[in-house]
């Protein structure tokens, strides 16, 4: 197995044989380690796994509504949205004090020459904007406390909706030659655009948001 160990001969066959297998073993091990290591960098997404999902509402525009102290709401992208956009190259958030109306465009994000327009999940006044690249959020004082409805979903409805969304996304993707994007048709990658650069992202964004 190793030089100096019983039965090891410095002969060609032996070296090729063991060398070959050791290399392959090394490759596998290395890849595994890297993957493991990367996976340990926990990102703190507002509305991500770290905060309580108490009273959170999900908007069909892939935004999350999270009630904060003082009746304000925190608006941020949901998981799928985040994955779709990855790290936007550029973003335009409404200014503080500016009014947003439900269903109307509120935020615009650019990624790789493709623009995604995020509609406001509620009507109200922006009291705070924050975060950077994929971790942006708006703090809004709503005209009225939002309730579940056609476009606003509670935890119960969300799953089936999400799955269908994912299917939608996959349908779009699989219409093109993008094997890797939907790893065997499962959940999408954390940063889709970088994983699948050559997709028509403009089309995808207009489909999804």
């Amino acid at each position: 197995m190793l030089p100096g160990m019983y039965e090891f001969h410095f002969e060609l066959g032996h070296l090729i044989f063991l060398g070959g297998f050791m290399t392959i073993g090394a490759v596998i091990g290395a890849t595994l380690l890297i993957a493991l290591f990367r996976s340990t960098r926990i990102v703190t997404v507002p509305g991500g796994a770290k905060e309580s999902t108490e009273g959170v509402l999900h908007h069909v525009g892939h935004t999350l509504l999270r009630p904060l102290a003082g009746g304000t709401l925190k608006i941020s992208l949901d998981d799928l949205g985040t994955r779709l956009l990855g790290r936007p190259d550029r973003m335009r958030l409404p200014g503080i004090g500016q009014r947003i109306t439900e269903g109307a465009d509120a935020v615009k994000l650019w990624r790789k020459q493709a623009a995604a327009t995020i509609v406001a999940p509620v009507s109200g006044t922006v009291v705070e904007t924050g975060g950077h690249d994929d971790k942006w959020y708006l703090r809004v004082l709503p005209d009225a406390t939002p309730v579940e409805g056609e476009n606003l979903m509670g935890a119960t409805k969300v799953r089936s909706w999400l799955t269908s969304e994912i299917d939608k996304l996959q349908a779009v993707l699989s219409s093109e030659d993008l094997g890797l994007a939907m790893a065997d048709g499962g959940e999408p990658l954390p940063d889709l655009p970088s994983a699948v650069p050559d997709a028509d992202w403009q089309k995808i964004y207009s489909e999804m948001f």
Binding site: L33, F37, T40, R41, I42
Partner: protein, 722 residues
């Protein structure tokens, strides 16, 4: 934030640690230790440890008495080898001898005295009680019994031990019965000689022709070494071996000429050969003229053999006339040895066959002739240290039926099986009792009323036998190479405890006595196994020196004696036998009208048969290679199989009027049509057990009519529907 940084550090630490550890020797050492552990899983026996001592002795497992070199560790023999240059065995050891030491631990060894109670159940009893019981039985027997009502069955007569038996029996007017052994027939020859004859031996090594009637000449006859010598020697100087045998035995296949004789027609063939010798005048005219007492005249030998023309003989024996003539001429062309063989399982030939066979030796003038039958001088065995009346030694066959009230079976292994029915016939039907002193459950003695286990050959000192082919007398000892277990006891000690009148000496006294007398005789030479050479006896200053030599594995051999043939009767002195010779041409009537369709011929393997158990390793090897089929197999020829509707591997049952055994059919084209051969002896199942129901069922079948001969058994062979 800070948290994730910590975690990264932690991982770094772990990773670094791993790499560091891999570079240290610790994990590799660990792996090696694991390796060593896994290398010894699972179980392995612990081996004997300690210095190896080498000692010499003789093998006591049969009367061949081969010289042995024994390697021991901590008092237990771990290796047995032959002794090159040994005068008798010349380095030869048979498989049984090699593995014999394992017998002491054989599962069928008896570890306590047992008795059969009124309920017919066998149970263990204390040694003292067993001896008391034997004493009581002895008393009633003596009160009620006449001559020979007390008897000892001695598998190896002629030892000093045997003399002690005879002395003990002499006081009781008992009978000393010879167990079966391969030189039994020689006593027929002695009986044919007129007047007292010395011990006789066969000088096979120097013979020109060996005429063997089914004797295992090439399978370890006599010293065993003889056979190997015969095989080993180049064709030019090795005797021409004629094997007269029905079974395709290893000897038959290896012999120069194999006469496949029809079952039970040896007498006819012998007389047929005599016919050729006489009619062609090939016999030793001088000796016959001077010494033959019954050649001519009415009912004389000449008249007898005249009726056995080769043509007629050929019809009965199935051997063509030309061959018979050829063999007779070859036989007459020089010194020859005739061996009426005793099969370890099939027993002896009929008395008349033995007589007829030996008449050929006499015709050929081979008695007293080098390369023929030579005489051995008695040496120190005739008288005992203390004088006393000796009981006569008789053949088992000659013991009157129902005469024995108390039969004591000596412990030594004979190697020759005896049918249960034969032993039972000799016992008194009403109160015949059997006491076994055997260390193992022995086939013929399975029903013994009382068993007092004695020692095995490797545990006790005794005399090694003198093989049939030894031209001179000899004395070698079986020096113990293992400790005898506490539950075993020497047979003489048992006798001394129940002896009322006479004092029984210990075996050591007896042997020392003979040794001293040999020393006084100043004859012969002594072989030193450690040096591998012999020195004249005269070089041993004191009798102590000789005794020391013998007790360290030495062998004393007598100087050869010359002996001129006395007057003799070619048909023997026994009228009954003579009469049967005259009726030899009549078809043998099948016993009690039992309509038989096949002839069962039991046989035994020379070194692994008879009534003893088989060492586990032999049982295993014969089982795994099928090299020797045991009593579970029956060999027949394809034609017979076809006629009876058997194919190889069938289960069959062989029936006689006395019982039946179940066997597996094996085909061999060399077997005679209408004959089935079944081995007698320990089964190779389990560890080679010879006890009841495992080993020797074939010998439960013969009824042993006409003078204790069970070679040819009329039987039926039926299919067993499973």
């Amino acid at each position: 934030m800070g948290f994730s940084v910590k975690r990264r550090d932690f991982l770094g630490l772990v990773g670094g640690g791993a790499v560091g550890a891999a570079l240290s020797p610790a994990p590799w050492k660990g792996l090696d230790d694991i390796a060593i552990w896994t290398q010894n899983w699972s179980w392995k026996p612990r081996l004997p440890r300690g210095p190896v001592e080498v000692a010499f002795t003789h093998c006591g497992l049969c009367h061949a008495g081969c010289g042995l070199k024994v390697r021991s560790v901590g008092g237990s023999p771990v290796g047995v080898h032959g002794v090159p240059g040994h005068p008798l065995s010349a380095g030869f050891v048979c498989a049984l001898g090699l593995a014999g030491r394992y017998l002491s631990y054989h599962p069928s060894r008896i570890v306590e005295p047992t008795i059969v109670g009124a309920d017919g159940q066998r149970r263990g009893i204390p040694f003292k009680a067993a001896v008391r019981q034997l004493g009581d039985w002895l008393d009633d027997t003596r009160s009620g019994g006449g001559h020979g009502s007390v008897a000892i069955l001695d598998n190896r007569p002629g030892r000093m031990r045997s003399l002690a038996y005879r002395k003990w029996l002499g006081a009781l007017d008992g009978a000393h019965i010879k167990g079966l052994r391969e030189d039994t027939p020689i006593n027929r020859l002695r009986a044919m000689l007129d007047g007292p004859a010395p011990e006789l031996g066969l000088d096979i090594a120097r013979a020109r022709t060996v005429l063997s009637f089914g004797a295992p000449v090439l399978e370890g006859l006599g010293s065993g070494e003889a056979g190997s010598q015969l095989r080993g020697r180049s064709d030019s100087d090795k005797p021409y071996i004629v094997q007269i045998e029905t079974r395709p035995s290893r000897t038959a296949r290896g012999a120069d000429l194999w006469l496949r004789i029809a079952p039970g027609t040896e007498t006819v063939l012998a007389l047929g050969l005599a016919n050729v010798l006489v009619s062609e005048g090939l016999y030793d005219k001088e000796i016959i003229a001077q010494q033959a007492l019954d050649l001519d005249g009415p009912g004389g030998y000449r008249e007898l053999v005249a009726r056995f023309s080769p043509k007629k003989v050929s019809r009965i024996t199935g051997i063509d006339a030309a061959t018979i003539k050829k063999v007779a001429r070859r036989f007459a062309s020089g010194p020859a040895v005739v061996i009426p063989g005793v099969d370890p399982g099939g027993g002896p030939l009929s008395a008349e066959a033995q007589t007829a066979a030996f008449s050929l030796s006499l015709l050929n003038g081979d008695v007293g002739r080098p390369g023929g039958v030579v005489a051995r001088r008695a040496s120190g065995t005739t008288q005992l240290p203390r004088e006393g009346r000796l009981a006569d030694t008789v053949e088992l066959a000659d013991v009157p039926d129902g005469s024995i009230r108390l039969l004591i079976a000596d412990g030594v292994a004979g190697g020759f099986a005896i049918p249960t029915s034969l032993l039972e016939r000799k016992l008194n039907p009403s109160e015949g009792r059997v006491v076994s002193l055997a260390p193992f459950e022995r086939s013929a003695l399975h029903g013994a009323d009382l068993v007092i286990p004695s020692t095995t050959p490797f545990e006790s000192i005794d005399e090694a036998g003198v093989p049939i082919d030894a031209p001179v007398d000899s004395m070698g000892l079986t020096v113990p190479s293992m400790r005898a277990p506490d539950y075993s006891v020497d047979s003489l000690r048992v006798l001394s405890m129940v002896a009322k009148s006479s004092v029984v000496p210990t075996i050591t006294e007896l042997l020392r006595g003979r040794s001293d007398r040999i020393h006084a005789g100043e004859r012969g030479s002594v072989f030193d196994p450690s040096k591998g050479e012999s020195v004249p006896l005269t070089e041993f200053k004191t009798n102590g020196d000789l005794w020391r030599a013998l007790t360290s594995g030495g062998l004393w051999t007598d100087a050869s004696a010359t002996f001129s043939c006395p007057p003799f009767r070619l048909m023997g002195a026994n009228a009954a036998i003579r009469d049967r010779l005259h009726r030899a041409l009549e078809q043998p009537s099948t016993a009690d009208g039992w309509a038989h369709e096949i002839t069962l011929m039991p046989f035994g393997w020379r070194d692994a048969s008879g009534d003893g158990p088989l060492p586990p390793v032999m049982a295993k090897l014969f089982r795994e290679t099928r090299l020797r089929l045991d009593s579970r197999f029956a060999t027949i020829c394809p034609k017979t199989a076809g006629d009876l509707g058997f194919v190889e591997g069938d289960k069959a049952s062989i029936k006689t009027s006395l019982g039946s055994i179940t066997v597996e059919v094996v085909l061999d084209p060399a077997v005679v049509d209408g004959v089935v051969h079944v081995a007698v002896g320990p089964s190779t199942e389990a560890f080679g057990d010879a006890s009841r129901g495992k080993g020797d069922q074939p010998l439960d079948l013969p009824s042993c009519e006409n003078d204790a001969c069970w070679r040819v058994i009329p039987a039926k062979m039926l299919e067993v529907v499973s």
